[in-house]
């Protein structure tokens, strides 16, 4: 234990840990969520301010400031600028950097091995491993989600190689942890292999499973921070890191459950493998097309319309147009509601966030069970870029990977209009019988475009 910090620093750390906990608590309810992040930020300021006068900071003051300015400015500009629908990759990026920072602490402290006891070196090494995995794994996730790197499982089927690598990592870690002198070369190898593991973990995973994986890396980064906190004798880091680790682990499970996946499934296999057997039941039938004008007329003269947004709306960034359409319809006396499936889009709350951004009123947004009871009273259901969440085969086809997932029963509405670009399938890659349903008409084209056309058509009615 090399720490000899003063009373006030201890006190500041204590309060910041308490504020983190309180902030997290408030963040877990929709009403108080925003004050929650402010409270956590107060804790952060306190911890950072106190650290400036930490007795173990014996030099490099200017370097610290410069590094903070560079890192802070870059991330501030980036985070402010980036589009709000790119959130998953942003979270991945910052999470990865946090894990990486924990790993660098481990690196510095392991290079000063003599100053630490065995228990500190052990946790330091474990933290480094976990932090590196969180770092490289998250960064690859970021790159994939941003489209910099295409899907590709670069490291498949080399189990023996992996096991050998893992053994090597463990051996290196063992040496680093139990010798009290620094081994820069071994350390470098250890870090390189650990980083490689992060890449290997992320590489086979399809973009759509990323939110769950990112949550897992978040928990991992938390654990790494907690362990490095022990190395430095910093209880605020220990408490905050463990807090994040536990919350992140639970969150990972909840998120996996929400998209109807097991964590092990996500980690060990691509989605394609899981359900390739049922693919042969696909049979295309007749699809009724509809043009924007007809669709617009149908809706303009309906009494009750439900809009079902899906991933396609997010891709097309059509939410603002959808809000415009809604307002137009409402001016004509049409009652417009939104139906949000819990796993619509590519991350929990994806649709809610987009619609909120576009200014759709909260009370018009209904969840699955609420709206399904009303569905038979609806005249027109407008499905915008959604597929899996309205896939009728989830109800009937036991072999479908979606079987058992509740869907939005748009087929109970008077008529259905589906907006999509072509014969593309959804996340699950399945054929959707809804498209050939007698009530259904399909409007082809990019969602934003189609909605814009409908808006023009309605305006031309007057």
């Amino acid at each position: 234990m090399i720490n000899s910090s003063s009373f006030f620093i201890d006190l500041a750390y204590f309060f910041s840990a308490a504020l983190f906990i309180y902030g997290l608590r408030r963040m877990s309810s929709p009403i108080s969520a925003r004050t929650g992040i402010w409270i956590a930020a107060t804790g952060m300021l306190l911890a950072v301010a106190a650290s400036f006068s930490h007795p173990n900071i014996t030099g490099n003051h200017w370097l610290i400031l410069i590094a903070m300015l560079i890192g802070g400015a870059l991330s501030f500009v980036h985070a402010k600028r980036v589009d709000i629908s790119d959130m998953p990759q942003m979270i991945a990026l910052y999470n990865g950097l946090g894990g990486g920072a924990a790993a660098t602490i481990a690196a510095v402290e392991l290079l000063r091995a003599a100053e630490h006891g065995a228990s500190e070196r052990i946790l330091g090494v474990v933290g480094a491993l976990i932090g590196c995995i969180a770092f490289s794994g998250s960064l690859l996730a970021f790159a994939k989600l941003s489209g910099f790197i295409k899907y590709g499982n670069w490291f498949s089927n080399r189990q023996t190689a992996y096991v050998a690598m893992m053994a090597l990592v463990l051996m290196l870690g063992f040496i680093l942890a139990f010798s009290n002198t620094a081994h820069p070369v071994l350390l470098l190898m250890f870090f390189a292999l650990s980083l490689l593991f992060g890449f290997i973990m992320t590489s086979p995973i399809a973009a759509a499973d990323m939110p769950v994986l990112i949550s897992l890396y978040n928990a991992a980064a938390g654990l790494a921070v907690a362990f490095e906190g022990y190395v430095l004798g910093n209880p605020a880091m220990m408490v905050a890191g463990t807090l994040v680790c536990a919350a992140g682990a639970l969150l990972t499970r909840l998120m996996a459950r929400a998209v109807n996946r097991r964590l092990s499934e996500i980690l060990y296999s691509g989605f394609g493998i899981a359900h390739s057997t049922s693919e042969d039941s696909v049979h295309y039938g007749h699809v009724n097309e509809v043009d924007a004008f007809d669709a617009a007329v149908t809706m303009a003269f309906a009494e009750r319309v439900v809009i079902v947004p899906g991933y396609g709306m997010a891709v097309a960034q059509a939410q603002h147009k959808v809000q415009e359409l809604t307002q137009l319809l409402e001016e004509r006396g049409v009652d417009v509601q939104f139906a949000i499936h819990p796993v619509a889009g590519r991350m929990p709350g994806h649709m809610n966030v987009l619609l909120a951004e576009a200014g759709v009123a909260y009370e018009k947004i209904h969840d699955l069970s609420e709206i399904n009871n009303e569905m038979s009273k609806i005249d027109v259901a407008l499905v915008i870029g959604a597929n899996d969440i309205v896939n009728l085969s989830a109800r009937t086809d036991e072999k479908s990977p979606l079987h058992g997932m509740p869907i939005l029963n748009v087929d109970e509405a008077g008529s259905v209009i589906v907006l999509k670009r072509g014969d593309g399938q959804g996340y699950a890659g399945l054929d959707n019988p809804l498209l050939r349903h007698e009530k259904t008409r399909v409007g082809l084209g990019d969602a934003k475009r189609s909605v814009q056309d409908m808006i023009s058509a309605i305006k031309s009615l007057d």
Partner: protein
């Protein structure tokens, strides 16, 4: 720090983290992910110390990278979370306002021009609307999920 004491901290903080998150509505999963990502940005406090006692070019450059990365985690994590939650708040606030408005209208309809409603009545009303709004809050939660 004593290793056993560390064990207690790990256990207790872990329990706190787990229990606090239980029952969170799924609409908050992403903001919460982002928020807890921000919280582990406290790694900055450690990175500062690591750089602060780093010696030699190797240690210093590693430490420098660490402080930069940790600051990015903090700042970026905060901005993203705040932007995300701001949107929820706007819609929640709007909703809240609408409900209050509705209640006011309802109250007006029930006692038209009732300046001289007796005390008991006013009291009962007060209670009711209080209950109502707490119900609504609840609704928000469950609707959101």
């Amino acid at each position: 720090m004593d290793a056993f004491v560390a064990l207690y901290l790990f256990m207790l903080a872990g329990i706190a983290g787990y229990v606090l998150i239980a029952n969170v509505p799924s609409i908050l999963h992403t903001p919460l992910l982002s928020g807890s990502n921000f919280i582990h940005g406290v790694v900055l406090a450690g990175a500062m110390v690591a750089l602060g006692h780093a010696e030699g070019a190797l240690q210093i450059s590693i430490g420098f990278i660490g402080v930069m990365a940790a600051t990015a985690n903090c700042v970026g994590g905060y901005v993203v979370t705040d932007r995300m939650l701001a949107m929820f708040e706007t819609s929640a606030k709007r909703n809240q306002r609408r409900l209050e408005e509705e209640q006011r209208l309802l109250a007006e309809r029930n006692n038209p021009g009732s300046v001289d409603a007796d005390v008991a009545d006013a009291d009962a009303d007060g209670n009711e609307s209080e209950q109502d709004s707490s119900n609504n809050k609840h609704d928000d939660g469950s609707r959101a999920s």
